[in-house]
Amino acid sequence: MTPLDTLKLSFSTVVSYRTRSLLIVLAMALGVAAVVVLTALGDGARRYVVGQFSSLGTNLVIVLPGRAETSGGFPGAALGQTPRDLTLEDARFVGQLPQVRRYAPLNVGVAELTAGGRLREVTVLGSTAELLPIRSMKLAQGSFLAHGSERSAQIVLGSALAREFFPDGTVVGQRIRLGDSRFLVSGVLASQGESMGFNTDEIAIIPIDYAQELFNTESLFRILVEAKSRNAIESAKAAITHVLKLRHDGEEDVTVITQDAVLATFDRILRALTLGVAGIAAISLAVAGILVMNVMLVAVAQRTSEIGLLKAIGAPAADIRRLFFAEALWLSLAGGAIGFALGHFGAWMIRLAYPLLPAWPPTWASVAGVATALLTGILASLLPAARAAKLDPVLALSGK
């Protein structure tokens, strides 16, 4: 019996047992679709997070006050000391390091913004002109906190704020009041939406000195540092840690995180998560495999006399084994293909429903899903096929 004839004959068998075949194909398809959809979700989440981090800026190193380590902790903590503040002076020293291209000190607070007869609380960032390139933000109008004019009372508004307070569109050059101080609007940020917890459309940015005055603090919330290159990130991190330790009387009381490290961690966690859900979905495929095996065993029992007939007219055991094997192949092939299509359709629906989530099924998951379907189907057919091939022709003919 040629392979082509085997495939044709088993195909006509699969088609003629319509309900049985549809059930198996459905079970297989749902398993494959589950793998595809769940990995699309997992990988979508990963891409989303990675995208968010990347939008922070390139070669970014972030310095924050206090030790973030859980083991050991800040050595002074046991003595009731609080970690030393990060100061503008610290930031300036960091900025001098040869590995550092630019730096921006950062303060965050909330203040009342009054303009054009409106009043509301807004989130205020205090920083320098370098914030713009470090965070890869863009201006829609005007200028950012111009170099050398840190001490002038300028303010840059997020696009939503600008629209809200100045609906007529003339924003740059307007005077506004923030807390008790007056500021001149120098620019408006281009709209870019949410990025790591800050909606940049809803913030106002003022020079760092004014911010420290406004919030009555000497300490910084963060220092954002851009390393000279990707390769300089690690040595920048070490140098920053070193110089701040020297400045803080030998205490290592700051945490320096690199965007790469954070990114890599999230990437790893979310990849593991995706792999995990893929594994769980694959279990449903194994269940489908058991279903295939069961149905094939029933088929062998039902078609016993037919198997006897095939043997009587001269089919060798191998032909009979291959016939059942090919049936399982067709079923799992159909299940895999339909599941693939169903899964991609599902992922498309998710992308429609949540446009922010790039829920594209990873190629490996689609391939693995379909391959697992084929493999389970084939494995599940081995036992029934062997059982059919082993039947005694005389007994089989009489249906026993």
């Binding site: 019996m1 007939l309 095939l310 001269g314 060798p316």
Partner: protein, 223 residues
Amino acid sequence: MIRLAEITRVFHMGDQEVRALNNISIDIASGEYVSIMGPSGSGKSTLLNVIGLLDRSDSGHYELDGTDVTDLSENERARVRREKIGFVFQSFHLVPRLTAAENIGLPLILGGIDPAERKSRVDAALDAFDLRDRAHHRPAELSGGQRQRVAIARATIMRPTALLADEPTGNLDHRIGAEVMALLEGLHHAGTTLIVVTHDRELGARAHRHIGMRDGEIVADET
């Protein structure tokens, strides 16, 4: 040429032993027309199954067309069945999913015959057995006589040397049964060895050689 020498076939039912064939020796020449008759349980089907290489004997020797086929492997037996033996059963044994033409062509597919040759042979068989207008019907849509004609067409499509029929008319009424017998006899006239197991004395009498069985032994062999 079929040559059985001291063939014994024993079935075990629990601790009971059934000698379905008890030391049977028989020669059947090519082209003979033989009927096998006997009471139920006398071993007629078992004898036919051994001759058709569907069943093995427990002892004795079997020579088919000059070759010893007693100890052939399962695969070789399948090949001999495919090439030399045609079976016709009481209950037709057609594959319900396949059309008449497809049922007839099944042995050709198993034999790896190429599709063009297959088609011409099946077409010829459909004509020979008057099934042309039933070619695309499934067994469920055929009458008993038509089903047995399909089964006979299938049994002869590989041009076997021996045709073994186990009560081929058992499920048919008398008139149709006679037609089917006539068909088988036609094949015998064309040179095929024909061995028919039957309960019907009248049909059995039409053969040229009559073998009688009882309790696994041959009790009569007349020409």
